[in-house]
Amino acid sequence: MLMEIDKGEPSSRDPRVVSNGSRPTGEHPLPGSSKTQKAPSETMRGARPNGAAVGVQQETYFGHDREEITRILIQALGDLGYHAAAENVAEESGFQVESPDVVAFRQAVLSGAWSRAEELLCGKGARASGQGSDNGGLVLAPGADRNIMRFRLRQQKFLELLEQRETGRALAVLRNELTPLCQEQHQTLHFLSRLLMCQDTEDLRSKASWDGASGRSRQVLLAQLSGSISPSVMLPERRLAVLLEDLKRSQVDRCLYHTSTESPSLCVDHLCDRSRFPSEMLDELSNPALESSKKPDEVWQVRFSPDGRRLATCGTDETVSIWDAEHLALMHRLHGHLKGEIGNLAWGPDSRLLVTCGFDRSARLWNTDTGECLRTIGGFEEPVSSCVWAADGQTFITGSFDKKKSICQWNMHGECVHSWTRAHRTEDLVLSRDQRWLVAMDEQCNLHVYDFVARKHVYDWALNARPTSLSISRDSRCLLINKADNEAVLLDIETHETVQKYTGQTGGNYTIRSDFGGANENFVICGSEDGHVYIWHKLTGLLVQRLEAHHASCNAVAWNPTDPCMFATAGDDGRVRIWSNRERAKALAATGRHPNGTSRTSSNGSLRSDPMRA
C-alpha cells in the first residue's frame, strides 16, 4: 500500500541529498490521499531526508544504498530482540531481510525437511544454473557451488538417519543421493560409509565431530549454506555487528599512541591521548655493583612475567635478578650458573618458573617464589642461547649452539622428551601462542620453521642479513626479526611476505633485541647500539617515539604484557630502567619514592615532538 502512494508522487521530486531531515524547498506535502494513510507515513515523510520513493528512484542514505542499510538495520533490530520494531521498519520501508523463499529454506533446514529444502534450493525444475530467485531456486553468491550445498544437505540427512539407527534408509541415501554427487571425493564417501559401522550414537557423534540433530548441527549447516547464498536474498548473520567490529579494529589499528585496553566507543572516533603513552623514566632498578668504580656489568636481557608482576634480568654478572614489577624492588638474586654470562631467560606461563640460558653450557630451571634452582640441564657442548615454554607449562624447549642438541624439549624432571635437532645451530627460538609455529634462527642468515604440534619441519627461509633476535606476535601470524643491517622486519609466517620494515636503530656488532608491545600490540619496540630505544607503530612503520635510554648500548626491551603504559629497557651501562607516562611518574613521586639513578635530570626521557617517519 505504501509503495503505491510513493509511486504516485510527482516524478519531478528533487533527489538532492539534504541533511537533518529537512525537505528541499519547493516540495509540498502530498495531496489528500496521504491523509488517509496511517500516521507512520507522515512521520516517515518528515523524518526521511529526501522523502524519497522506494521503487522509482534509488535514493541514498548519505551515499549508501538505502535497501542495504534498511535490511541490515532490520536484522540488527531482530538480533537485539526488538521484533515489533523490526517488523514495523520492514513494513514501512517495504524491504525485507530475507526473501520468502529464503525464510522457507531456513525453516526447512532447521526442522529437517530435507526434500523441501532441496526443492527450494534448486527450484522446481532442478536447473543447474542459479539465475532468478523466483524460478530457478535460491540466488547464490558468486562462486558458490549448488552441488556442494546439496551434498551438505544430504550428508546431514544421512547423519540424522544414522543417529536414529535407520541404517537401511541411511544406506539408501548414501547410495542414491550422495554417491552421484561426488565423482572425485572418494575419501568423503569412504568416511561416511565407515560411519555406518558405528555401534551407537555416541560413537557416531565423536567420529563425525557432529553433535546430533538436537544439537547445533542444523544451525551450523545453515550458517555454512548461507555463506553460499547471495546476500541480496539472505544477509550473512549479524551483519551489523561484523561491520562494527571491523570498524573498531581499523580505528584501533590506526591509533598512533594507543594505550587503552577497552573496546573503543562508537560515539566518537577513537584516538588515544598522547600524554598517556610511556615516554618518561619511571624508575631505575638499583644495582649495588654500580656504586663501585669497576666497569659495570652489562645487562643483556629483561623479561616481564606473563602476569606482568615480575621482571627478570640477566647479563654478564653471572646472576639473575628477579624484581617485583609493582613495587620496583628486588625479590631475589639467583646464583648457581657457573662462570659465564647468562644470555637469555624465559618465564613459564604460570609466572613462577623461569629457565635461564647460560654461556656455561647449561640451562637452569628456577622457582622465582623461593629463588631456588630446581633443575640443571647440562650436557651441551656450546652455550645455550634461548628457551621457550609450551602453553601447558609442562615442557620447555631450549635452543643451543651445540649442533647435536640444537633444539631439545625437556619436561619438569629434566628429561629430554623430544629433540628437534636438524644440523643447524640455534641462536634464538620462538613459539607462537597458538602452539602452531616453532621458529628457530641460526647463526648464519636462516630461519627454520617447524610445526610444533605435528613435530615436523615446515620450511627454511634465508634472510638478506644476519638476524639478531626473533619475536612472534600474539595473533601467531607475524614474525619480527631484528637484523644486523639496522633494520627490523615483520614477516608473515605463512605467506613469507614482508608486512613492514622498521629503521632508525643502529646495530651490527652485538645482539640487540626487539619486541611487540603496547595495547592491542600496536607497537614494535627495539633497542639500539646508540643507546636509544625506538618505538614504531606496527602497521604503518612510523617512528612514534625515540628515547635516550642508556649511556651505552640498549640491549633488550620488554613491554609489560598487562600494562600498556609501561616498558623496561636494559643496557650495557648496567642499568635497568622502567618507563611510563607523566602521570605515573607524578604518582610515584607523590608516594615519596625517588627514582634511583642520578641521571633523572639529564638528557634521558627526551621527547620528539612529532612522530618521525623512519
Binding site: E298, W300, E341, E382, P383, R425, Y510, T511, I512
Partner: protein, 110 residues
C-alpha cells in the same frame, strides 16, 4: 660491549682453542706451516675468528723486524698466537694482516 656469541665455522677440519674449544680457523685457510713460535710449531692463517688483538708492539724475529699484536681467545682470554700488522722487509710483506696460531695451543674441533 654487548652480547655477542662466538662465530662458528663450517668446514671439515676446524682448529679451536685448546682450553675452551672455541672455533678459531679453518684448515683450508692455512697459508704456510713453516713457522715457529714460543711453543714450537706454528701456522700462518689467512683468517681467524673469535680472537681479540692486543696492543701493537715491535718484535725482532728470525725473519726481521715486525710490528705484531698478540691475539687471545675471546672466551677464555688465553693467548693463542699473534697477528702481523707490519713487516719492515719487503720479502716479508705477504704476512701483513695475517695470523699465526701456535699448534701447541690449538685442538682440532670437528
Amino acid at each position: 660491549m654487548g652480547l655477542a656469541y662466538n662465530t662458528y665455522l663450517n668446514s671439515s677440519r676446524i682448529y679451536g682453542c685448546k682450553a675452551c674449544k672455541s672455533h678459531l680457523a679453518n684448515h683450508e685457510d692455512i697459508i704456510s706451516r713453516n713457522f715457529r713460535g714460543q711453543h714450537g710449531k706454528a701456522y700462518l692463517f689467512n683468517n681467524v675468528v673469535n680472537v681479540e688483538a692486543g696492543e701493537p708492539m715491535e718484535r725482532n724475529m728470525t725473519t726481521g723486524r715486525h710490528v705484531v699484536r698478540d691475539i687471545t681467545c675471546r672466551v677464555c682470554n688465553e693467548v693463542v698466537g699473534w697477528k702481523y700488522d707490519k713487516a719492515y722487509e719487503s720479502t716479508e710483506k705477504y704476512k701483513e694482516g695475517k695470523f699465526i696460531l701456535e699448534a701447541e695451543l690449538l685442538c682440532t674441533v670437528s
